[in-house]
């Protein structure tokens, strides 16, 4: 499939990218070299901030010049040095010879134009078609190729009328409109659910097989690399630390960082089931229905059933894994149990009913139940110091606690999660994502709760950090005999932590049971499809999962 003797399609040589001027100048990419040959897939892998996206964008010269600059390097594409091209010449290359698919399908399509028009624009710009009929015919052909059902109708749809996966398909159709020789895919599946991710990956593979284009695939997910790529470049801090054929790199990694990355899968034994321990949380047919109101009088015309009749029982020391795709109601379920959204149906916490308690009456219970959120950047108030953030719960629940004792507890909580207490006077923006998530855990821990809802605490983090946080959580659970409700779409993390699992879909529980059983022998078709997509990036039973 590859002709090693032929000159590579794309050859990046000694490329550096710097941001800023003068003293504040930082080197984002440092002397990176790699080749992409015709028809092959090269993956750039690395953690956030490793410079992988910046490298890819500089191939398209899409960086914010002159804030960004290239102190060194050449980018040879089909023998031409893209660095020396003018902006006008570059416009001819973009979209025609090189196509790009971005991460976020929500924002990379213009919400005010129909998708037919947006694909048509890509065609007209590069003059591959001239007449209106041709544009229409080609657009329909492209939509059909990327697997959009009923393309005739979809031509006149606006982006918001499509699902995330369909939008990403449209983006791919746009990128492929002019039969590019190289497709740059910048984390094209990161924002998508696992089942949709598997579909998009398959689509990309099919397209590559049909048109023979090369793909430069940027991702942080090693599973995708193994599945998709022929060769892989591991990036770290702006440098390529290792590159080579996928089989070789995965089988015999040379660089210690690659080895660490490969070993970073969340591992370990989940907390054991404990059928005799006291019940911490119990719900019975819990419902969260958001009313849909219409008209002047705001009459309720229907309901969005975010959580629709969930019953669960969680005993002390156990971890309940809540699995589901986005929109399945798993976060809402967590918030409802903590009574942060209003719900129907009894909730019992340590045997006491919570439903219907007023704000003040609820407060004593809040001390025992805490939550850690997904986004470590959004869950810490940017204008408070870390000490203040962690101490906030203490000031609410122990207003009379002497300052000394409060400080001692804050320090202990920070030490518990592995943050140097000396840094507690700093502000959140001075910490990395993983450290912030630790601080968020410390804020929950400082009150010595018995039950913590963990709402996707690892999904915004890099692989290495993810594994660390999972280890930290398991360690804390053992030490403080905590009960977790762990919400995640990442089945690997769930497998490492959860003793019980419920699988949710559209507000309802599809399957529930001990984690070991479910992972070994999923009963429901949807669960099986989910597992196949997550663990093997395969599509099974496409009719069981939504488009």
């Amino acid at each position: 499939m590859m002709d090693a003797a032929a000159p590579p399609l794309l050859s990046v040589k000694e490329l550096s990218v710097a941001f800023g001027q003068g003293e504040g100048r930082t080197l984002a990419v440092n002397r990176v070299s790699f080749d992409v040959r015709k028809g092959e897939t090269v993956a750039l892998v690395g953690e956030s901030g490793s410079g992988k996206s910046v490298t890819a964008l500089s191939v398209m010269k899409l960086l914010p010049y002159p804030a960004a600059s290239h102190p060194s390097g050449r980018i040879l594409f089909k023998g031409r040095d893209l660095m020396t091209l003018s902006e006008r010449e570059m416009q001819q290359v973009r979209g025609k010879d090189i196509g790009i698919v971005f991460q976020e399908p929500m924002t990379s399509l213009n919400p005010l134009h129909t998708i037919g028009r947006q694909i048509g624009e890509a065609l007209i710009l590069h003059g591959s078609v001239t007449s209106q009929e041709q544009v229409r015919a080609r657009t329909l052909e492209l939509l059909a190729q990327v697997g959009i059902p009923d393309p005739e109708q979809r031509l006149f749809s606006y982006p918001h009328q499509l699902s995330g996966g369909q939008r990403q398909r449209v983006m791919i159709a746009m990128a492929l409109a002019n039969d590019p020789d190289l497709l740059i895919a910048d984390e094209p599946t990161t924002a998508l659910d696992v089942t949709v991710q598997a579909q998009i990956l398959k689509l990309l593979k099919d397209m590559q097989a049909r048109f023979g284009m090369a793909i430069l695939f940027i991702t942080h997910d090693l599973g995708i690399v193994r599945k998709m790529a022929d060769r892989v470049c591991i990036m770290r801090l702006g440098e390529i630390v290792e590159q080579g054929p996928v089989e070789r790199v995965f089988a015999a990694p040379e660089h210690p960082y690659t080895r660490a990355l490969l070993a970073a899968e969340p591992k370990g034994e989940p907390a054991p089931l404990n059928p005799t321990a006291p019940v911490v949380v119990q719900t019975d047919d819990l419902k969260v229905w958001f009313p849909v109101r219409r008209g002047v009088l705001r009459r309720t015309v229907g309901h969005i059933k975010a959580v629709d009749g969930v019953s669960l029982e969680l005993r002390k020391g156990e971890t309940l894994g809540v699995v589901g795709e986005s929109g399945s109601g798993k976060t809402t379920l967590g918030l409802a149990i903590l009574r942060l959204v209003s719900s129907d149906g009894p909730i019992a916490f340590m045997g006491k009913p919570l439903q219907g308690l007023k704000f003040k009456a609820m407060r004593p219970h809040r001390r025992h139940m805490q939550i850690v959120f997904q986004d470590p950047y959004g869950s810490l108030s940017p204008r408070l110091s870390v000490a203040d953030i962690v101490a906030e719960g203490l000031t609410v629940h122990h207003p009379k606690m002497p300052e000394e004792e409060r400080e001692r507890r804050v320090i202990r909580a920070l030490e518990d999660v592995g943050i140097d207490p000396e840094t507690r006077f700093r502000y959140p923006h001075e910490f990395s994502g993983g450290q912030r998530q630790r601080i968020a855990v410390a804020r929950a821990l400082v009150l010595e709760p018995s039950f913590i809802v963990l709402d996707e605490p690892t999904s915004a983090l890099d692989m290495l950090i993810q594994a660390q946080i999972v280890d930290l959580l398991r360690d804390l659970q053992k030490r403080h005999d905590l009960t977790y409700m762990f919400i995640s779409h990442d089945l690997k993390v769930i497998a490492a932590l959860a003793s019980k699992v419920i699988v949710m879909r559209q507000g309802k529980v599809v399957e529930a049971g001990p984690a070991a059983e479910i992972f070994k022998a999923p009963k429901h078709e949807y669960t099986r499809a989910l597992f196949a997509a997550a663990f093997d990036l395969e599509i099974t039973a496409p009719e069981a999962v939504a488009q």
Binding site: L335, L338, L340, F359, M362, R363, R366, R367, M369, Q370, I371, F373, Q374, D375, G378, S379, L380, S381, P382, R383, L384, E392, G393, V396, H397, E403, E404, E407, R408, I411, R412, E415, F425, H429, E430, A440, R443, L447
Partner: protein, 447 residues
Amino acid sequence: MDFPRPPFRTRIEHLLAVDKDSKPKLYLQLFDAAEIFSLNYALELLLSAGIATLGLVLDSPAVVIGAMLISPLMGPILAGGLALAAADIYLGIKSLLSVLLSSLCAVLFAAALFAEFIANDRPFLVKYDGKYFFPALFTYTEEDFGTTDELKDTAANFRDPQIQKQIAEKGGYIVWPLIRYSYDTHNLDLPTPAPSKPTWLLTEEECAPVVKRKGLSGCRDLEYNWLGTDDQGRDVVARLIYGFRISVLFGLILTAISSVIGIVVGAVQGYFGGWTDLLLQRFIEIWTSVPQLYLLLIISSVLVPGFFVLLGILLLFSWVALEGLVRAEFLRGRNFEYIRAARALGVSNRVIMFRHLLPNAMVATLTMLPFILSSSVTILTALDFLGLGLPPGSPSLGELLAQGKANIQAPWLGLSGFFTVAIMLSLLIFIGEAVRDAFDPRKIFVP
């Protein structure tokens, strides 16, 4: 795991300890203090304005002195000290420049606030019969200066040649402000009918009668009206200084109060949402559709318009400007995860609003402030121009502009009014923008 140090001391130590990490921070802080267009600086100016208002309310300029001149200067002076200690030439130059600039700014500001000490018909200091008097601060009777006739119980008029003579006879002296007119002093020795030209434009011929009557040698010896007089023979410069002060203070106070109301209402609306939001929003929609100007006309015909009455009336409407913005910010902010986290901790709504939401809503809010500030000043000027503003006789830029319109033959009225208003509005926008920049997260959050 034991930390036996008392927390208060640890805090103090933490504050004072100049370890390696905090040194550059401290340095940066002082560096910022040398910055003249910064939040602190603007806040100090606001504080001074607040104190000055107190002085206005008590009608006693004596309340105000001292700290005001110093406070805006403190930062640059400290930075200068550091520059000396660290032998940093760049910081030194910067702080020196700032000291100069802020002195200028402080002098200008003080000029407005201490108008009594710049343009007044009462001197700072009088030495009479071996005793010292401070007529600018206290009122004295004619009797204190040796008058014995029927005028002895009236307030001393130091512009009266008779009193000046009595003081000189007792070996005393008078220290006058720069301009010997107050905003309501009529120049009784006008060489031409009012409005009279700036004195330096007068011809010897025009001066002749006054020069002759007072036994002087020429126009140059007359008491100068630098920008002429208005149609009642009052000095334009003096009226400008006092008018500037009233306008700026009015603008600052109106902006401050209406921001507080707007922010509180907007915060409540945005945070609680639902019915609270719906009802308040409908009320505000109706409220803003009330024709402001007509209402002002009606109210000012019922109430005697004065500084505070006008402030109250304008306040009725001006708070709405910020409300919508703050509401939007709070609506957006209340779903942030750290707000949810705070609610999960059981933090009360009030604390969440103030501690967590407000600081983050400030940036958008402050963007609007300069415009509210200048529009407050403009509306007062406009009302004065129409004759609906401050009571007759008060120094007001709008009234000066109206006079300029009525007396086209006296261009010094219209021109000086126009330039004062134009420069003042630009300055206020600059101050407002400095405040906004200081809150800009891109400048605060330096990683």
